[in-house]
């Protein structure tokens, strides 16, 4: 079967696959991780807040999004939000949202739920004495959160956060349903154009596998270091 495997197709496609495709995938992963972490941390703090309204809103949001398939959220956001924005702004036609920003926002909103749960368990695993000590020194709840609780929670949870980022890196391939040229989308386009499905899909799988494997190994080494510091 490999006798017909055309490596030349792959070699010719490399600039397009990486410069267009992979750079989009990595940019989206980076933006969604940063956005998801910020929003997810906010959700976690809301969920753990003494204010019942905040905690119910955050809890409801997290449970809702975690119960929906990611593809559905991507579709929903890409196709329905332009109409929602039209209705909200009173515009005469649906508000067009750039596919890149549409995906960044979708993934940020979706991944924030997972980051929220990671940060929440990070905060809950800290001894209560840390909060008491910060309070006893005269820190406000906000100061205790920013200078004592979150730095420790995020540091302890760093391996889990990075693991979630690797999952996110793989999940970004779903934007191909919007005909966006991410890495998988680029591979699919070449595959269709040149009729080289086997080559392109095998190559795409190998690239995802290698990047994810290297990243997981790096996380595992980091995990050991974090364990030592603690």
């Amino acid at each position: 079967m490999l006798s017909g495997f055309d490596f030349q197709t792959i070699v010719h496609a490399l600039p397009y696959l990486f410069l267009t495709g992979m750079s989009f995938t990595l940019t989206l992963t980076l933006c969604a991780t940063i956005g998801g972490m910020i929003f997810g941390t906010l959700l976690a703090v809301m969920r753990l807040s003494d204010n019942r309204i905040l905690s119910v809103i955050a809890g409801g949001y997290v449970n809702l999004l975690r119960s929906l398939p990611l593809v559905l959220v991507i579709f929903w956001f890409y196709f329905l939000v332009p109409f929602l924005a039209q209705w909200l702004t009173g515009s005469s036609s649906p508000v067009r949202i750039d596919p890149f920003w549409s995906s960044v926002i979708t993934f940020t909103l979706f991944e924030a739920c997972y980051f929220c749960e990671i940060v929440r368990s990070g905060i809950q695993s800290l001894p209560r004495g840390q909060t008491l000590a910060a309070s006893a020194l005269g820190m406000t709840d906000r100061q205790a959160l920013f200078y004592v609780i979150l730095p420790q929670a995020l540091r302890n949870m760093l391996p889990l956060i990075l693991t979630q980022t690797i999952i996110l890196f793989q999940d970004t391939s779903l934007v191909y349903v919007l005909s966006i040229t991410d890495f998988l989308g680029a591979a699919a386009k070449i595959a269709q154009r040149d009729g080289r499905l086997l080559e392109m899909y095998v190559f795409a799988a190998v690239v995802y596998f290698i990047i994810s494997l290297i990243a997981s190994q790096a996380v595992r080494r980091l995990q050991k270091r974090v364990a030592i510091i603690r």
Partner: protein, 244 residues
């Protein structure tokens, strides 16, 4: 002049009465030791003084401020009262120097340089200046507790509260912490100390409070307490811990 006054403090957790009509005081420059069997409410009592434990009824007045009043700025009050915990509670993600500087900078708004300088002077005082760049996890329990005392002193507190400061320590480390506390008492610091260390109480306490089942059973001058405790429960308690 009374620095800390507790008037008729009561507190319950559900059906369980943790504190029952507790009243006492600590004068300026006085050292008061609180002892009693475990579960007697002494740790809860000391935590009510800086508002870490809310109370159901009664009044706590610290340097003229009513702690339990709804308008009281609790962070401000706490920044003026030092507290040392059983498990040290140093911040593990910061080195020793940063542990001492954090609240000075964020709460008292001191400059970083001034906070570091103050911190180093206090580290020197507790004999740990050489460890300034280490992290809490690299120090022994006794060293961590001395850092915790220095961290509280860095805020220039008007009084210090100690919640079983030596209970989590290995026996050979207890004295290095007690020595720092004795020195502090001799410098005239107002102190309330929950502890089982009766040697410490004999050495520096002015008064001893004995608690049992959420009540202050005995509140006496040190010599009276050790010489002729009036209540039977205090006598039993003393006979148990002084035999060894």
């Amino acid at each position: 002049m009374s620095m800390i006054t507790l008037r008729d403090i009561s507190k319950t957790y559900g059906d369980f009465q943790v504190l029952s009509h507790c009243s006492t005081w600590v004068s300026k420059g006085e050292v008061v030791v609180v002892c009693g069997p475990s579960g007697s409410g002494k740790s809860t009592l000391i935590k009510t003084i800086n508002g870490l434990e809310p109370i159901d009824s009664g009044d706590i007045i610290v340097d003229g401020t009513t702690v339990s009043a709804p308008t009281t700025n609790l962070p401000l009050l706490r920044s003026r009262v030092g507290m040392v915990f059983q498990h040290f509670e140093l911040f593990p993600h910061l080195n020793i120097r940063e542990n001492l500087a954090l609240a000075q900078v964020k709460v008292l708004k001191r400059s970083k340089d001034a906070a570091m300088e103050k911190g180093m002077a206090l580290l020197d005082r507790v004999g740990l200046a050489a460890h300034a760049e280490k992290f809490p996890g690299q120090l022994s329990g006794g060293q961590q507790q001395r850092v915790a005392i220095a961290r509280a002193l860095a805020m220039d507190p008007i009084a210090m509260l100690f919640d079983e400061p030596t209970s989590a320590l290995d026996p050979e480390m207890i004295n290095e912490v007690l020595d720092v506390m004795v020195e502090l008492a001799r410098d005239g610091m107002t102190m309330m100390v929950v502890t089982h260390e009766m040697g410490f109480a004999r050495k520096v306490a002015n008064r001893v409070i004995f608690m049992d089942r959420g009540e202050i059973v005995e509140d006496a001058d040190k010599d009276d307490f050790f010489g002729k405790p009036r209540s039977e429960r205090a006598q039993q308690f003393l006979s148990k811990i002084l035999v060894h």
